[in-house]
């Protein structure tokens, strides 16, 4: 009898030890699931047509970094505000009904607020979001139709409300202040457009769709006119290439958007893909597409970058935080570009008038 109860006791102890151990392992596995489980995705399509979402983590809710205004009471935004008035940008964001809550919502919560005017372009109207209905279908082959219709819509309704007209995707993050700095050197009456310049297929190059591109007022007028006079048509569904061809036909110049040290400002990928040497394999299409010599590592990207692409919702907020909030106190940035002469003069004049 004694040996039986001894055996029972032993099995009891064994069981409790195993139960204890199993629980802790289970918990640590569950915890291990949290955190950065970003798979390494290489986007194999230079024309930025997005694959259908594999139901990646839906980010519920939004984050408002600007709710905390007191951290910015020592901030001087005079120059940014001056540029807001002088370089008016209308942003239209290419999206769709299924992406309003998944992606466009986060664009709206972050960088879109800084445009002078922002429009969300979808195949169907949504009064609540709000989103403009372009009366197209959805799908990869509709991208150029949507682009044509979107620019026509902007031309018909908002031509006089802005000087420059930006197209972005709902997974593009745009630093609008830096775009204004770039454009401040040019006049909206010039026939010119900017973006990440690619070299194939079009002699003067064309601008990557996903990285975003911006047309001057004159460029927009010529684009709309081109369809009226049928100099351009819906020649293909590859939106950025087709638009680039049309720009060349209409003598709109493909501008050089690099900063004063030659670093690119519009980016077809997230910062990590450009900054980490060897991230993009040598055989990747990107190396042969870039108009200017492509650079990886710190020289890839301007301090005053304008855009990044394939930005998921979490990274939208991360970029928002890094650009507009987290900063090294008292740090004297290496790159200190000046404002164009005419704007400097204007600001000095305005300050003198205040005295």
């Amino acid at each position: 009898m004694a040996s039986k109860s001894w055996l029972n006791f032993l099995t009891f102890l064994c069981g409790s030890a195993i139960g204890f151990f199993l629980c802790s392992q289970l918990f640590s596995i569950l915890l291990g699931e949290q955190g950065d489980t970003q798979p390494k995705i290489l986007h194999n399509d230079p024309h930025a047509r997005h694959s259908d979402d594999n139901g990646q983590n839906l980010l519920e809710g939004q984050m408002n970094f600007n709710a905390d205004a007191s951290q910015h009471k020592d901030e001087n935004t005079d120059i940014a505000e001056n540029l807001y008035q002088r370089v008016r940008i209308l942003c239209w964001v290419m999206t769709g009904p299924q992406n309003l809550e998944k992606k466009a919502k986060h664009v709206k919560a972050t960088w879109a607020q800084r445009c002078n005017k922002v429009l969300f372009m979808s195949s169907e109207e949504n009064k609540d979001f709000p989103a403009v209905g372009l009366k197209t279908k959805e799908g990869r082959d509709q991208l150029y139709w949507k682009t044509i219709r979107a620019f026509h819509y902007v031309y018909d309704h908002y031509l006089e409300d802005a000087d420059w007209f930006l197209k972005a995707d709902d997974d593009t993050y745009v630093i609008v202040d830096n775009l204004r700095w770039l454009l401040s050197k040019y006049k909206p009456e010039e026939p010119i457009y900017f973006g990440r310049r690619f070299k194939p297929y079009v002699k003067q190059g064309y601008m990557s769709g996903g990285a975003g591109y911006v047309l001057s007022k004159e460029a927009l007028k010529r684009f709309v006119d081109a369809f009226k006079t049928e100099k351009c048509t819906h020649s293909s569904s590859i939106e950025d290439l087709a638009l680039g061809r049309c720009m060349e036909i209409m003598n709109v110049e493909a501008g050089d958007s690099r900063d004063t040290t030659g670093k690119e400002t519009f980016h077809p990928f997230v910062p990590e893909h450009h900054l980490v040497k060897g991230y993009l394999p040598r055989t990747f299409w990107y190396w042969n597409y870039n108009y200017y010599p492509p650079v990886e590592g710190p020289g890839c990207c301007s301090d005053l970058a304008v855009s990044f692409h394939y930005v998921d919702p979490t990274t939208m907020y991360e970029l928002e935080y890094l650009v507009y909030h987290l900063r090294p106190y008292g740090y004297l940035y290496r790159y200190q570009p000046a404002l164009p002469e005419n704007i400097l003069r204007e600001i000095n004049q305005a300050n003198k008038n205040e005295d």
């Binding site: 099995t11 139960g19 809710g61 709710a67 007191s70 505000e81 830096n178 990590e272 990274t315 650009v323």
Partner: protein, 317 residues
């Protein structure tokens, strides 16, 4: 007979699981009460207010900026070697001096017991650093190889503090009646704390291994040891009460904040003056370097009272 022992096995498993749950629950109870004990009046440290130094001249600002000298200790195991080069090339350039302390050897012999004794390694490291560098630096910052730190923001937090006071700062956690600075967020010690620590390490039993049932983590052991010298942990926060030493990455914090309030608009996760983030891969370190020291919006300027120059011969900041 089989069913009897089977039943007792199952009962055992049940008891084991329940006792694990209970132990973890009690181990993780964080009660933040402002218990007033010891030398310092404060448990929460905040950066200075602008009003405090409106009368100081510009020359003094530059002198002030130079007077805070931070020594960075990166404390890690040999497996972390892939981090060493990246750390040297990124944020540690902004320390006045940084050294990497690796413990454990690749050529493991079966009796390499020391390798697992992180507290012993930490004691040795602190002793070595104090003896070699105690005269030239007034603040000592210890971080893991997976941590990214913005030293300028650390200096901003510290510059009105007197390093001859015993400061022990970071992201604190309360475990029972012990408040300690967790290693994942980075540990800051003033020179006075280093002095007191060194004195204890020389001749005291109090800083020997305090583990009873299972191994006590080295950051807890450090807190216990420092407590004997009257050095107490303080949680560092910005002027809105947000932690500036973070134990997780930005992405992690964003997702955490959002999942706590799904479907709503939440306040920004992190301080503008954040000092550390942890859990970063070498690739993410490079992204942080660009994001913190370079990427910014044109036309936004700050009237800062400290001036920090970029390090010499560097391309990524």
């Amino acid at each position: 007979m089989v069913s009897a022992s089977g039943a007792s096995f199952l009962k055992g498993m049940l008891l084991g699981s329940i006792s694990w749950v209970l132990i973890t629950m009690f181990g993780q109870v964080h009660i933040r009460h402002g218990a007033q004990t010891g030398d310092h009046e404060h448990h929460h440290l905040r950066p200075p207010n602008r009003k405090d130094f409106l009368n100081i001249s510009e020359v003094t600002f530059i002198e002030l900026s130079k007077s805070i000298r931070v020594f960075c200790i990166i404390f890690g195991e040999t497996e972390d070697e892939s981090y060493w080069d990246v750390l040297k090339e990124t944020w540690t350039k902004h320390c006045d001096k940084a050294e990497l302390y690796v413990y454990g050897t690749k050529n493991d012999n079966l009796f390499n017991i020391e390798r697992n004794d992180k507290w012993l390694q930490m004691r040795r490291t602190y002793k070595y650093v104090f003896e070699k560098y105690g005269n030239s630096y007034n603040w000592f910052f210890l971080a893991l190889p997976t941590t990214f730190a913005v030293i300028e923001n650390l200096k901003y937090l510290l510059f009105t503090r007197d390093a001859s006071q015993p400061f022990y700062l970071g992201h604190t956690v309360i475990s029972g009646d012990l408040e300690f600075v967790t290693m994942e967020g980075g540990i800051v010690l003033s020179i006075e704390s280093m002095k007191r620590l060194n004195r204890l390490l020389n001749n005291s039993e109090n800083c020997a291994d305090q583990s009873v049932i299972w191994k006590l983590s080295e950051d807890k052991q450090l807190a216990i040891c420092l407590k004997y010298a009257g050095v107490l942990a303080e949680n560092a926060e910005d002027n809105e009460g947000r932690d500036v030493f973070n134990t997780k990455s930005i992405v992690h914090l964003i997702q955490e904040h959002m999942s706590n309030n799904p479907g709503q608009v939440v306040e920004g996760c992190c301080s503008d003056m954040a000092i550390t983030f942890n859990g970063l891969t070498p690739q993410k370190m490079e992204v942080m370097m660009y994001g913190v020291y370079r990427l910014r919006a044109f036309g936004h300027h700050y009237n800062d009272t400290l001036v920090f120059l970029p390090p010499n011969g560097s391309k990524n900041d």
